[in-house]
């Protein structure tokens, strides 16, 4: 999908416009049908206000992530896709490691694609659901930045209601 040939564009209906999205991280370009790209509210606003040139630069999103986003948009732009198919396709798109998911959720947020934002957020939430805080730290690779006193205070704030329950 990285390079839709020019003749393919001409072969289809002449009104069918395409847009080129370019990842500013690794300069990868994606040619997509306009109606696919317009699922992104950000891009739609750009197009509507005539700010979009031939090539729309997409900052902070890598080609790898952009490909996933476009895959999602293509699936959801297909009017004949059943709800079940879409669900399956979405599950396939978000079946990634946590770092990819974070990049994806950032991309969905930047491009303002509500559906993608939801499924990705849900997936991230699922990955930390029911886990103790030590495991959450490990998953996200974050350091404990509490001082022992602070940690005890945060603990105390919650413990009396949630722990020690028989």
């Amino acid at each position: 999908m990285a390079s839709a040939p020019e003749n393919e564009k001409n072969a289809s209906a002449p009104e069918k416009k395409t847009l080129t999205l370019k990842s500013m991280i690794n300069n990868e370009e994606f040619v997509v049908d306009e109606h696919v790209a317009l699922q992104s509210v950000t891009i739609k606003n750009m197009v509507d206000s005539d700010c979009a040139g031939d090539v729309i630069p997409v900052p902070t999103i890598s080609g790898e992530i952009l490909a996933l986003v476009i895959e999602y948009c293509k699936n959801h732009a297909n009017p004949s896709a059943s709800e079940d198919d879409l669900k399956k396709a979405d599950a396939g798109i978000v079946a990634k490691d946590i770092y990819t998911l974070i990049d994806l959720v950032l991309a969905a947020n930047f491009l303002d694609i509500k559906g993608l934002l939801e499924v990705t957020s849900q997936k991230i939430a699922d990955s930390i659901k029911d886990l103790p805080h030590q495991d959450v730290r490990e998953i996200f690779g974050v350091e404990n930045d509490y001082t022992p006193e602070e940690e005890a205070a945060v603990r105390a704030e919650h413990d009396w209601a949630f722990e020690g329950f028989p």
Binding site: L106, L117, I124, A125, K129, N144, D145, V154, F162
Partner: protein, 301 residues
């Protein structure tokens, strides 16, 4: 009867907020259940489940008798991601530069992710680091969890203004104290049922929002928690969809019903005799959304 007096006291603790008069009559019915069923452990257990579910139900329904317009305006679960800026910051402002990986994530994204989590998960997140504590203390998250678990709104204006997280924790605590009293109250209840019962409450604490409850869509079906009692015609009306639910049974009607069922139970062959019977009672009791379902479930126990 003394049982009901005791129990009313217990409830008064839990419902410290407001008038009890309208509740006490209705709750009393369940104490009569106890005397009907006192030969069967399963029934005693069911009775405890029902009390809690009923209390939740009543509180949800009471959330706002008489103040509907206000609730319809601002009290609904949906539609309100915008208010996260006020009331935040229960403690600790984030030092995002120190949390590396998270620093690239804008705060509104945390909200999108955390809205899928239960109160226990949020508490767990709070312990991870400062930034996540800040994000997981977001008032709108706790407000939604509060509404999910206890119905629409806390009953008084004063409570409504307080921090939702604090309110949630407070209520959990009150409920827990209440549960302990209740378990104490059903002294004959053997320990294995106590265990089921405790598990059931723990399950409620760790309940996280369903996808249908997280977005801006309100699904108005039998499990609708947005319904409030319209005092003029005693109908339960959903504040979002306007859907009307069946009228609540009056205490007199319910008593008749119970007696009929009592007769029915002894006549019928018991469908869950033998292994799995208690599990069935547990499942039935727990899954009941309202008093109607409970009554239906009773037929099978």
């Amino acid at each position: 009867m003394t049982l009901s007096d005791n129990e009313n006291e217990t409830l008064a603790h839990y419902l410290e907020f407001e008038v009890l008069s309208e509740v006490s009559d209705q709750v009393w019915i369940f104490f009569n259940f106890d005397s009907y069923f006192n030969n069967s452990h399963a029934h005693i257990y069911m009775f405890v489940c029902m009390c809690i579910d009923w209390v939740n139900f009543v509180v949800a329904g009471r959330g706002g008798g008489g103040e509907r317009s206000e609730e319809a305006e601002g009290g609904v679960v949906s539609n309100d991601w915008g208010n996260s800026s006020d009331g935040r910051g229960i403690r600790a402002t984030p030092r995002s530069t120190e949390t590396g990986f998270f620093s690239q994530i804008p705060p509104e994204l945390f909200h999108h992710i955390l809205k899928f989590l239960s109160s226990e998960d949020l508490v767990s997140c709070s312990l991870v680091c400062r930034l996540l504590n800040f994000a997981a203390s977001d008032e709108s998250l706790w407000r939604r969890l509060y509404c999910m678990r206890w119905g629409l709104l806390p009953p008084t204006e004063k409570l409504r203004e307080s921090a939702w997280k604090k309110l949630y924790i407070q209520n959990t605590f009150l409920l827990r104290r209440d549960e302990e009293d209740m378990v104490e109250f059903v002294r004959n209840c053997p320990s294995e049922f106590k265990e089921y019962y405790i598990q059931m409450q723990a399950a409620k604490r760790s309940q996280s929002p369903l996808p249908s409850q997280t977005g801006q869509v309100h699904v108005c079906d039998d499990t609708c928690r947005e319904a409030v009692l319209d005092p003029t015609n005693e109908l339960l009306v959903c504040t979002i969809s306007g859907h009307c639910f069946d009228r609540l049974l009056s205490p007199a009607e319910m008593e008749t019903d119970t007696e009929q069922q009592q007769g029915g139970v002894s006549d019928e062959a018991e469908p869950f005799m033998g292994s799995g019977r208690f599990a069935q009672a547990y499942m039935l009791g727990y899954n009941c959304a309202d008093e109607k379902e409970l009554q239906a479930a009773l037929r099978f126990c």
